[in-house]
C-alpha cells in the first residue's frame, strides 16, 4: 500500500470515527430525552399522571383526589423507639383533615449518642383497618435514616386519607417505631469474610 492511499484511508477512517462518536454522544442525550418524552406520553394517554391528577381519566382518579369536606377525621401521631438512644417525637400531636386532602406533617428526631446510628421506622395504624385507606405519598419510613452524633432532623410525612374510609372511623392513630439497623453493619463484615 503506498503512502497516498494509506493517508487517504487514515483520513476516511477518522471521518467515520468522528461520525460514530457523535452518534454515541447523541444517543447518550437521547437517553435523557426519554424522560420528558415519557412524561408527555403519560400525560397524553392519561396513565400514571401524579402531577395533574385531575387530567387522569377514569373513576380511580376521582375517588383518589376529591376532597370530602362533609367529614373530618382526627389523625393523631405517635412515636416510639425500640432500644434506640434517640429522641423521636411528632411536631404536631394531631391534625384534623378532610378525606382526600393532601396533608403535610413533620416528625423530629435527634441522635443522643456519640456515634452515627442507622435506623428505620415502621408505621402502624389504629384502628388497623385504617391502614389501607391511609395513602402515604412521602414518608421518612421509606428510607433508612443515618444520624450523625448529636444530629437533629425534621422529617416529613405527606399523606392523603382515602375518601373510601368507612364512615364509622373518625379517629386514626399513626404510630411509628424506630428500629436500629445493626444487621447492615453485621452483614457487611460477614460478607467480607465469606466472599
Amino acid at each position: 500500500m503506498n503512502t497516498r492511499t494509506a493517508d487517504h484511508l487514515a483520513s476516511a477512517n477518522r471521518r467515520l470515527l468522528v461520525r460514530l462518536a457523535i452518534s454515541a454522544a447523541v444517543m447518550f442525550g437521547f437517553g435523557f430525552l426519554l424522560v420528558p418524552f415519557y412524561e408527555k406520553i403519560c400525560e397524553v394517554t392519561g396513565i400514571n399522571n401524579f402531577l395533574r391528577p385531575e387530567a387522569e381519566a377514569g373513576a380511580r382518579a376521582a375517588t383518589n383526589t376529591q376532597v370530602d369536606t362533609s367529614r373530618t377525621i382526627l389523625v393523631q401521631f405517635d412515636a416510639n423507639l425500640h432500644d434506640l438512644p434517640w429522641r423521636f417525637q411528632p411536631v404536631q400531636r394531631s391534625v384534623n383533615v378532610h378525606p382526600g386532602e393532601l396533608v403535610h406533617i413533620e416528625y423530629e428526631v435527634s441522635n443522643t449518642r456519640a456515634e452515627p446510628i442507622t435506623g428505620q421506622a415502621v408505621p402502624s395504624y389504629g384502628p388497623q383497618l385504617a391502614g389501607q385507606y391511609f395513602r402515604k405519598l412521602d414518608c421518612f419510613c421509606f428510607a433508612q435514616q443515618t444520624l450523625a452524633p448529636g444530629e437533629r432532623r425534621i422529617m416529613p410525612v405527606v399523606f392523603v386519607v382515602d375518601p373510601a374510609l368507612p364512615a364509622d372511623v373518625s379517629t386514626i392513630t399513626l404510630s411509628y417505631t424506630f428500629f436500629e439497623l445493626k444487621g447492615r453493619k453485621f452483614a457487611a463484615s460477614g460478607q467480607g469474610a465469606r466472599s
Binding site: N13, F28, G31, Y38, R184, A187, A188
Partner: protein, 524 residues
C-alpha cells in the same frame, strides 16, 4: 503502515514481557487478551452461580444469608453479561474480522488497546464491590429503581464499572464498524463478506446506539442517589417505572448484541462441516438487519406487569412475535444448509448443531413469554430464568465454544483434542438441560426468581437443577485442559485446518503469523 520492512512481517517485535501485553496494538494479541479476560470472568460468574445453586439445593437457608444471596444473583448477571459474553465476542471480532476481510489490523489499533485495558479496572470495581460496607449491589442485574437508588456504596461501584465497560464497548464497536466498512480487501464487497462480519457490523451499530442509553440510565441513578435529582423518585415527581422503560430500551437490543455474533459464528461453522455453501446468504443478512431494527420496538414486553394500556400490551406483543420471523429464517437456513450436505460432526459442528437445538427451544419459550396474558403469569418466575438461560448459555455460550474449537487451530497452530472436545460438548449439553429444563416446571408452578428459600413442593426439581449446575460448572474445566493442550502441542494444523473451510482466514498459515495481509489480498 507504509514503513513496514520485511523483517517485521513475521513474529513479534517491540517490548517483551508484561509491557508487550500492556502496549500491544496487534489485533491478535488484543483478541487473545479479550478472550482470556472473558473466560476468567466466566469462571468468576460461574462460582457465584454455583453458590446460588448450593443455597437452592434444599429449602431453607444453609449456605448464605438472603442479603448476600441477592448480591450473588445481581453480580452473577452483571459479570456474565458485561464481563464474559460481550468481551468474548469482541475478542472473536478482534481476532477474526481483520483475517476474514483481508485487513492488516483493526482501523484504530491504539484505541483497540485502550478498549481492552479499560475492562480489567471495571472488573476490579465490580468484584471489589463485594468487600465494601453493605456489600455489592443487590438490586438485580437490571438495577431497577427504587432499589438501586437506595443501595449502599456497592451500587456506586457497579455504576462506575458499567460506565467504564460501556465506554470500552462503544470504542470497540466504533473500531469494528470502521474496520468492516473501510478496511476490506479489494474485491471484498459487502455482500461477499463472511456472515460473522455482517452480524458483527450490525451488532456494532446496536452497541453504538444503546450502550450510551444505559450509561444515561445509570447516570440518572447516580444523580438521584447523590445529587438530589428525582428522575425515579416519586416523592420528587419522578417515576420508578420510567427507569424500566429506559433500561429496556437498552436492554432488549442488548439481548441481540449478545446473540447476533453467535449467529455469525454458527453461520461460519455449519457450511464448513456440511460441505455446502450457506443456504440463503442474502436472506441471512436481511434477517440479521431486521432483527436489529425490530429490537428497538419491543422493549416493553419485559414490563407487561407494570400496568400499561391494553393497546400498548398488544403492540409490544405483536412486535415481539414478529421477531420470530427473521429468527425462524435463520434457523431454517441453517437446517437447509445441513440438508443433503456431507455432514461430519467434529467438535465445532457438534457445538453448532447443539446450539441450533437448544437455542430454538429458548426461542420458543421466548415466544410463549411474549404472549401478554401468559407473561403476566410467568413474570419473575423461574420460567423466565429458564428461558433466558436457554438463549444465553445454550445460545451465546455454546456458539462461543463452537467458534473457539473452530478457530483454535488458526490461533494456536494445533488441532484441539477431538475426544476431549466431544466430552466437553456432551457433558455441557446433558448437564445444561438437567440444570435448566426443570426450571420451566418450577416457573410454571409459580416459584419466583431471585429468592434464597422456597416452598417445599419445589424441593425435588431444585435439587436436580443444583446437581446439573455443578456438573455443568465442572465440565467447563475440560475446556481449559483442551486449550492448554492445544497451545502446548498436538496435531499440526494446516492453513486450511478443516476440510472444506472457506474464507480468507484459512489462506494464512496456522498459527496465524503476528502480521497478516500487509499486502491486501485480492478477492474475486
Amino acid at each position: 503502515m507504509a514503513a513496514v520492512t520485511p523483517d517485521q512481517l513475521h513474529g513479534h517485535h517491540g517490548p517483551t514481557g508484561l509491557m508487550r501485553w500492556l502496549t500491544t496494538t496487534n489485533h491478535k494479541d488484543i483478541g487473545t487478551m479479550y478472550m482470556i479476560f472473558s473466560f476468567i470472568m466466566f469462571l468468576s460468574g460461574g462460582v457465584l452461580a454455583l453458590t446460588i445453586r448450593a443455597e437452592l439445593f434444599q429449602p431453607g437457608l444453609q449456605v448464605v444469608q438472603p442479603e448476600f444471596f441477592n448480591q450473588l444473583t445481581t453480580m452473577h448477571g452483571l459479570i456474565m453479561v458485561f464481563g464474559a459474553i460481550m468481551p468474548a465476542f469482541v475478542g472473536f471480532a478482534n481476532w477474526m474480522i481483520p483475517l476474514m476481510i483481508g485487513a492488516s489490523d483493526m482501523a484504530f489499533a491504539r484505541m483497540n488497546n485502550w478498549s481492552f485495558w479499560l475492562l480489567p479496572p471495571a472488573a476490579i470495581l465490580l468484584i471489589g464491590s463485594f468487600f465494601v460496607p453493605g456489600g455489592a449491589t443487590a438490586a438485580g442485574w437490571t438495577l431497577y429503581a427504587p432499589l438501586s437508588v437506595q443501595m449502599g456504596m456497592g451500587m456506586d461501584l457497579a455504576i462506575f464499572a458499567i460506565h467504564i465497560m460501556g465506554i470500552s464497548s462503544i470504542m470497540g464497536a466504533i473500531n469494528i464498524v470502521v474496520t468492516v466498512l473501510n478496511m476490506r480487501a479489494p474485491g471484498m464487497t459487502l455482500m461477499k463478506m463472511p456472515l460473522f462480519c455482517w452480524t458483527w457490523l450490525i451488532t456494532a451499530y446496536l452497541l453504538i446506539a444503546v450502550m450510551p442509553v444505559l450509561a444515561g440510565a445509570v447516570t440518572m441513578i447516580l444523580t438521584d442517589r447523590h445529587f438530589g435529582t428525582s428522575f425515579f423518585n416519586a416523592a420528587g415527581g419522578g417515576d420508578p417505572v420510567m427507569y424500566q422503560h429506559i433500561f429496556w430500551f437498552f436492554g432488549h437490543p442488548e439481548v441481540y448484541i449478545m446473540i447476533l455474533p453467535a449467529f455469525g459464528i454458527v453461520s461460519q461453522i455449519i457450511p464448513t462441516f456440511a460441505r455446502k455453501p450457506l443456504f440463503g446468504y442474502a436472506s441471512m443478512v436481511y434477517a440479521t438487519a431486521s432483527i436489529a431494527i425490530l429490537s428497538f420496538a419491543v422493549w416493553a414486553h419485559h414490563m407487561f406487569a407494570t400496568g400499561m394500556p391494553a393497546a400498548g400490551q398488544l403492540f409490544f406483543m405483536y412486535a415481539t412475535m414478529l421477531i420470530a420471523v427473521p429468527t425462524g429464517v435463520k434457523v431454517f437456513n441453517w437446517v437447509a444448509t445441513m440438508w443433503r450436505g456431507s455432514l461430519t460432526f467434529e467438535t465445532p459442528m457438534l457445538w453448532a448443531t447443539g446450539f441450533i437445538f437448544v437455542f430454538t427451544m429458548g426461542g420458543f419459550t421466548g415466544l410463549i413469554c411474549a404472549i401478554a396474558p401468559i407473561d403476566i403469569q410467568v413474570q419473575d418466575t423461574y420460567y423466565v430464568v429458564a428461558h433466558f438461560h436457554y438463549v444465553l448459555v445454550a445460545g451465546s455460550l455454546f456458539a462461543l465454544f463452537a467458534g473457539a474449537y473452530y478457530w483454535l487451530p488458526k490461533w494456536t497452530g494445533h488441532m484441539p483434542n477431538e475426544s476431549l472436545g466431544k466430552l466437553h460438548f456432551w457433558c455441557s449439553m446433558v448437564f445444561f438441560n438437567i440444570t435448566f429444563f426443570p426450571m420451566h416446571f418450577l416457573g410454571l408452578a409459580g416459584m419466583p426468581r431471585r429468592i434464597p428459600d422456597y416452598a417445599l413442593q419445589f424441593a425435588d426439581f431444585n435439587a436436580l437443577a443444583s446437581v446439573g449446575a455443578f456438573g455443568f460448572g465442572l465440565s467447563q474445566l475440560i475446556f481449559i485442559v483442551v486449550v492448554v493442550k492445544c497451545i502446548r502441542g498436538g496435531e499440526r494444523a494446516a492453513a486450511r485446518s478443516w476440510e472444506s473451510a472457506e474464507g480468507l482466514e484459512w489462506t494464512v498459515p496456522s498459527p496465524a503469523p503476528h502480521h497478516t495481509f500487509e499486502e491486501a489480498p485480492v478477492v474475486r
